[in-house]
């Protein structure tokens, strides 16, 4: 299957690969997986005092579409508030990356990872 240019770009030059300290109270970690593909995705955010996501990192084991979806998700999350980040939809990621229908679930995984990271942060801060 042919990947779109944008997927290949994110796959070859992934943005924000790495790890933040999961024990840091200002860091939220989302760990999600897609069992049938075996994809595992870790997405982390660091939130500053103004409630802005000042850093985001990811590590994904999976196909090119899953890597591109999480790479793009971290790009989009940086500089946003938590509420804004939570409005990022898988359909937007899929559209930006021109994912084919069989790869839509990769963008769903990335959206679920965003939500899991935000929820983890909010739980740490007693916001939920």
């Amino acid at each position: 299957m042919a990947y779109s240019e944008k997927v290949i770009d994110h796959y070859e030059n992934p943005r924000n690969v790495g790890k933040l300290d999961a024990e840091d109270p200002d860091v939220g970690t989302g760990m999600v997986g897609a069992p049938a593909c075996g994809d595992v995705m870790r997405l982390q955010i660091k939130v500053n005092e103004q409630g802005i996501i000042e850093d985001a990192k990811f590590k994904t084991y999976g196909c090119g579409s899953a890597i591109a979806s999480s790479s793009l998700a971290t790009e989009w999350m940086k500089g946003k508030t938590l509420d804004e980040a939570e409005t990022i939809k898988n359909t937007q990621l899929a559209e930006e990356l021109a994912l084919p229908p069989v790869k839509i679930h990769c963008s769903v995984l990335a959206e679920d990872a965003i939500k899991a990271a935000v929820r983890d942060y909010k739980q740490k801060k007693g916001l939920v």
Binding site: G33, Y61, D112
Partner: protein
């Protein structure tokens, strides 16, 4: 015949623990019985039925011979269809999966065959433990959530096992 349970196709009762050698014997016997070549002179309707039968038999065999697919099928029989593709949030297990994948990446770079064999053994042991745990809980509807979680873990490990085998082949070349 189209709606026959996968197990019934092989005259087996639904069970998670099955003898795969015995399943293979039963499959090959049934596959010969419905082989399209044997129906070369049959009418169109019968030919179509035999083709459908043969396809259904192959499907059933593919599902039953794989532990995660068999597990998903058993849970679906009782509780209704479980989707193939879902997002799971099983943090400790996923953290471990990520570590294993990092290890596998390092093994790919080092091309360390003995270490890869040891990795494979560890994976196999983990798969057997999962199978044992699943066997203990899948028939108890009060433990449905646990059974589903274990089945999802089996799916991850099977995928990882495929990757280990792919890597073995690449390193063999």
């Amino acid at each position: 015949m189209g709606n026959l349970c996968h197990f019934a196709r092989f005259d087996l009762k639904p069970a998670f623990r099955i003898d795969l050698d015995d399943l293979g014997v039963r499959y090959r016997k049934r596959a010969r019985e419905v082989h399209p070549d044997r129906f070369a002179d049959a009418g169109e309707r019968e030919k179509r039925q035999v083709l459908e039968e043969s396809a259904a038999l192959n499907d059933a065999y593919q599902v039953l011979r794989s532990a995660p697919m068999r597990a998903r099928y058993l849970l679906s029989l009782r509780d209704g269809e479980l989707p193939l593709e879902v997002t799971v949030q099983d943090p400790d297990f996923l953290i471990q999966q990520m570590q294993w994948r990092e290890e596998l990446e390092e093994l790919q770079d080092s091309a360390d065959l003995p270490a890869l064999a040891a990795f494979k053994q560890r994976l196999k042991a983990a798969q057997e433990r999962l199978n044992d745990d699943f066997e203990l809980c899948w028939q108890d509807s009060a433990r449905h959530a646990e059974a589903v979680r274990l089945m999802r873990r089996m799916q991850f490990l099977e995928k990882l096992n495929h990757e280990v085998r792919d890597l073995e082949e690449r390193l063999d070349d």
